[in-house]
Amino acid sequence: MEKSLKIAIKELNFFYRDFKALTDISLDVYAHEVTAFIGPSGCGKSTLLRCLNRMNDLISYRRIEGKILLDDQNIYDPNVDVVSLRRRIGMVFQKPNPFPKSIFENVAYGMRVNGFKDKAYMAQQVETTLKSAALWDEVKDRIHESALGLSGGQQQRLCIARAMAVEPDVLLMDEPCSALDPIATQKIEELIHQLKETYTIIIVTHNMQQAARVSDITAFFYLGELVETDKTNTIFTRPKLRQTEDYITGRFG
């Protein structure tokens, strides 16, 4: 299958006030592939991820240089409508953050704000996405109860369902499994495998095995720089740089 370029990050520099959090990042992300961001804590993975759906716009003191092309269009172009951009790029956050609403309303929220009115379609979509997030069986009898009554792992799967319900092109996942037990983690990983048929996925993870299991491409970051990126297989078996190898094998420091 011909690989098609989905996102192209070009010479991106990112500053929080005077602190340079990202230096000269250039990276290509292909459609229907899973790209994993790995690297030690504080190296800028979340920052880069949040550049991709312009979530960093909320921070008044950030400054950004360079380009990010989504389907050949620069998302930082002044003409870009941030709201519809975010609808195309879904995000699952590091901490589960369900709305204090019912389970149903959580999943339906994205559809509601995007103007869907058809009740039957909405109910169908809620069921479908909850099923694909491996949550339906656990919640189908209490779909109209508060989402806050769910366990942390269930909440995280709910957040994944919520992000998928608006059918974005790209799904950004910031350590989606950090709050999950091994079983829930496995379910999420299976889900990621299925999802890449439809979506382009970028996942941040601290878990090397997880990166190896789920991703096609791995990018290793260190101190705000992209150190090495390659096919996951290559990165984990024959990394070019010593630094990458040390990190992957846990000999870092």
Binding site: L58, S60, R86, K95, N97, F99, P100, R112, R162, V166
Partner: protein, 303 residues
């Protein structure tokens, strides 16, 4: 081992002493409250020997010094409810919208300046606000609307709104601002606009705080004495227009207490009015308490 258990014992004793001290102190303030309440009822209830409770509450005429006197406080109750109601119509939208603006739209700079100023409004003594209403607003209203007096329901409500806006705004703003950023981000990430995020996520999540703020602001208005005494006009009639003068309960009590013969019927009637006022404010505060407890979980367990 022995040493540590020894010091443990003495620490236990200290704990006990501290606990008893705090218990006594809180007992003292509760006792005061209870005593005041008992006194209030003792001085107020004898009026029922003169009029039935129904005639007292729903009687349309308040002529306490006539012969025979008429002790119907319905106009006073309506006066209180009217000023509180009209002032809420002004203060709730202004207070809550200002809070939304400050918490969500204003830049950090603006917020840093405006919030303390709004809170500072709360420290204006009520007599100053009453004075302002009397000398500035009253003549203005009289002239613009061509009415016999500028001291009326509308003026009093305006001044009361002025007094409750800081309470409503400041407490609502705290509630809105404390909605976790994570929720806001979750909404924006799903393609919601800023306004949709405010109306569908942030406001529902801070509703209990906002409701508490509103009720506290309203209870401030209903119990306020000085302002209504100065600018409400003081006529014990049931108002039909915004520009009718009214005589809310606190104004009536404070204006007449000095003249009412000690332990006479009028005196008892005023205390009974105070009992009614007390029940009103109690109701407001219980409601505020109930609502803030009922919905508290929503905010706390979001993360």
């Amino acid at each position: 081992m022995i040493k540590s258990s020894n010091s443990g014992k003495s620490r236990c004793r200290t704990e006990k002493i501290i606990r008893i001290t705090f218990f006594c102190i809180s007992l003292a303030s509760i006792a005061t409250l209870v005593l005041i309440t008992i006194f209030l009822f003792m001085e107020g209830l004898p009026v029922l020997k003169e009029v039935s409770i129904n005639d007292f509450i729903f009687g349309k005429y308040w002529y306490p010094t006539d012969d025979p006197p008429a002790f119907g406080i319905f106009p006073l109750i309506v006066g209180s409810i009217a000023v509180t109601g009209v002032s809420s119509v002004i203060s709730i939208p202004l207070g809550v919208l200002t809070a939304i603006y400050l918490a969500e739209a204003a830049s950090t700079n603006v917020r840093q300046w405006v919030k303390p100023i709004v809170e500072l409004m709360a420290v204006l003594p009520s007599v100053v606000i009453g004075f302002f209403g009397m000398v500035i607003i009253a003549p203005f209203l009289q002239e613009v609307f061509d009415i016999p007096t500028g001291l009326n329901l509308f003026n009093a409500s305006l001044m009361l709104a002025f007094m409750s806006i800081p309470t409503i705004c400041s407490i609502s703003e705290d509630a809105i601002f404390s909605v976790p950023t994570e929720l806001k981000e979750a909404s924006l990430a799903l393609g919601a606009t800023h306004w949709e995020t405010i109306s569908r996520v942030i406001l529902p999540a801070s509703l209990s705080g906002i409701t508490t703020a509103i009720i506290l602001g309203m209870s401030r208005a209903i119990g306020e004495t000085m302002v209504v005494l100065m600018v409400a006009g003081g006529a014990a009639i049931i108002p039909i227009s915004l520009f009718d003068p009214v005589r809310p309960m606190p104004a009536s009590i404070v204006a007449e207490m000095a003249e009412a013969p000690f332990r006479g019927d009028h005196y008892h009637a005023l205390f009974a009015t105070a009992v009614v006022l007390f029940l009103f404010t109690l109701l407001f505060n219980l409601a505020a308490d109930h609502i803030s407890h009922k919905y508290k979980q929503v905010g706390a367990s979001t993360l």
